[in-house]
Amino acid sequence: MNALQTWMRRALHAAFLLLPLPVLAEVAARLDQATGAVIVTGLAPQEISAVITDAEVLSLRLENSPSTRGMLVSNSQEGEAMIVQPRFALKAGARYELTVAGETLSIALPAPETTTPRLVSFAPSQAVIPANTLRLYLHFSEPMARGQLREMVSLATADGTLVASPFLSLEAELWDPSQTRATLLLDPGRIKQGVGPNVAGGAPLQEGQTYRLTVSPELRSAAGHPLAAPVSVAFRVGPPERRAIAPETWEILAPEAGSSAPLSLAFDRIMDSGAALRLITLQAPDGQPVRGQITSDGGGWSLIPDHSWQAGSYSLNVDPELEDISGNTIGAPFDAAPGTIGTSVTAASIAIQIRKN
């Protein structure tokens, strides 16, 4: 180092010491977990006011975003710090970069704690299901992400041959509000008798065959966690169910008055378990709805009351919208015969006598 360089270094050093402190301080950004805001310190007052006058001079972006566009933020000053409040919460596990006053600052968010999702149940749960089954339910342990089912769920025959396009392709996936239960509709065009796809491609499910429904291990939960291992459900296919629902054919197991034993129904077919839970209700002799624990696996329905049974006539009410898993209702089979329009249906009601033994 020559004399001139040494002198310059000293002069520069002296100049820095004379500058106001905020400029010397390093510009830093940190995320305030409580408010979700990014707090930027070390900016000169004029740099802060420049941002507040013109928000364009600041940009908060996902690191490596293919777009130069910054996310929506509102900026304000708090003491010597600048508060950058994103309009939408920064995504857990992601890295953002904040560009301001010629500096690019990195903000890393801790990865979210996620749980591996599991397929907890599949309906219909029966080992043999009708060849014209319309609706399947997949029930997961965690809320799942929308928009993946078409790619991630497949149906194969016993020898592993994939069934081509077995499900109705709808833009909107059918989930319950918590996004833990997905509804899959087998293509109705392929279930209905005499329909083009059914004749041309055959029904997706053939009587007497065994099938395996497989959910890809890549299916992600809403939190981004994949299933980790493929899950499959095997079932055998029996004869199609093409009759209208007839509640009078259900077997009823009535408990004794005074007990809290379940009141059980056994269906003559596999009912839609989701619909059965919602659309079959019981009224006490005094006209009040019976409260308790309702269970249905589609093959039957049972209610364990909160309070013991009274002697008298209970009324089992079946909503006309109840469907079995082949889409048949009380009024009409799914494949309605020509000229059967006007099958207006009212709710069915069955009297159940509860007696003292």
Partner: protein, 405 residues
């Protein structure tokens, strides 16, 4: 294995108060529609509601935004990588968002998109506006708001069972002459119920079940969900033109859609199986003055159908002894050179607007204008008039490049 629900009396209170949703809490945002004024309707399947937002103070006229050059069959790409750009505005990756629907406010030509940030049950629903080529978040809290229940209405009895699992995915909303027509697909029922709601909302809703004849079927069926629909006057009679999940085209006079009615729609065409319709949008052919609808499809190119042809089309034969129909049949469908379309609306008499996969790179989701009446953008296609040294009889190549504002 079985599903179990507990009957909790406490849940009654929580749900009974959820009848209305404030403007700030759009639970989800799907199908979009405008009335003839400034009211934007948003289908909120998660909340089981249709929202109405008065956007009078949010709308900006887009008359000076050049949409293309129809004379030379040139559309304009408003955005390349629309998903990436919206995601950047929302601070996430493109894979984290879903563009659910698009609608144009015709008087101002302003474009609106319903978008989800996230794919989980807590996804944030937003409405994005395009303002002279820039993306803006619409502040719905500043708009006058009302809403109407269309989903499964929890009754006093069902409320005792806790949070219901059934939902209605709202597939389409149409406004016509003071009423909304809402179509949807339930996750627990396979029904063809069409909901008809007066607007401004009065808490009235009438529901009709529409039986249709499917030409691809050898018999009647009572139930299939409507996927997309529009309302047009056919010979002076307001008529619902609906396309079903199994792709028949059906016309039903609105006068027949009364509450509780079971209606037989007249099937007049078949879009062909192995395909799901996406959108049906009315337009007037500026070249010959005819009124038409354009239908976009998942697995087939789009088709144009003339309204007079729909009005005069004979019902397709049905009943016993009729052979199945597997292919495109019935009312004449003019094929349009438009595929990869995700969402469609018209901007004005000359241009349609699509959210689409770019024909050159399907990974590129574009917001793009398409000149009508042929929905044909010359640049998208391999046509001789685009080749170097080829004849230029219409002067397309001689025209100077469009200098967009």
């Amino acid at each position: 294995m079985s599903f179990t629900k507990s009957l909790l009396a406490a849940s009654v209170v929580a749900l009974a108060s959820s009848g209305t949703v404030s403007a700030q809490s759009l639970s989800s945002a799907g199908a979009l529609a405008f009335d003839t004024g400034n009211t934007l309707f948003v289908g909120d399947a998660k909340a089981g509601l249709v929202h109405a937002f008065d956007l009078t103070n949010a709308l900006t006229n887009q008359a000076n935004y050049q949409l293309g050059r129809a004379q030379t069959f040139e559309g304009r790409t408003v955005f390349n990588h629309l998903d990436v750009e919206i995601a950047a505005l929302l601070g996430v990756e493109a894979a984290d968002i879903a563009i659910n629907d698009m609608v144009v406010h015709k008087p101002t030509k302003q474009i609106f998109l319903s978008v989800h940030r996230g794919h989980g049950p807590d996804a944030e629903a937003v409405i994005i506006a395009v303002n002279n080529g820039t993306l803006e978040l619409v502040d719905l809290s500043a708009a006058d708001h009302s809403s109407m229940t269309v989903g499964p209405v929890p009754t006093a009895e069902t409320l005792e069972f806790g949070q219901p699992l059934n939902t209605l995915a709202i597939t389409d909303i149409d406004y016509y002459n003071g009423e909304l027509f809402v179509a949807g697909v339930s996750n627990e029922e396979f029904s063809s119920k069409l909901r008809r709601i007066p607007f401004p909302f009065t808490n009235e809703i009438s529901t009709s079940s529409i039986e249709i004849w499917h030409a691809v079927h050898a018999q009647y069926e009572t139930r299939a969900p409507i996927i997309t629909q529009t309302i047009a006057e056919l010979d002076g009679e307001p008529t619902l033109i609906a396309i079903y999940a199994c792709t028949p085209i059906v016309r039903i006079p609105l006068a027949e859609l009364t509450d509780g009615a079971e209606v037989r729609g007249t099937m007049i065409g078949e879009m062909g199986f192995g395909n799901t319709p996406l959108d049906i949008v009315p337009y007037v052919n500026g070249w010959d003055g005819t009124s038409n609808v354009v239908v976009t499809n998942t697995n087939r190119s789009a088709a144009s159908i003339n309204l007079e042809a729909i009005a005069s089309a004979d019902a397709m034969p049905h009943g016993e002894g009729v052979q199945n129909v597997f292919s495109v049949e019935g009312v004449y469908q003019f094929p349009l050179p438009m595929s990869g379309t995700l969402h469609l609306d018209t901007l004005d008499d000359t241009y349609a607007l699509v959210v689409r996969h770019s024909p050159e790179d399907v990974r590129n989701i574009q917001l793009h204008t398409v000149p009508m009446p042929f929905f044909f953008d010359r640049a998208d296609h391999i046509v001789e008039m685009n080749f170097n040294g080829s004849p230029d009889p219409f002067g397309y190549k001689a025209a100077p490049p469009v200098d967009y504002n």
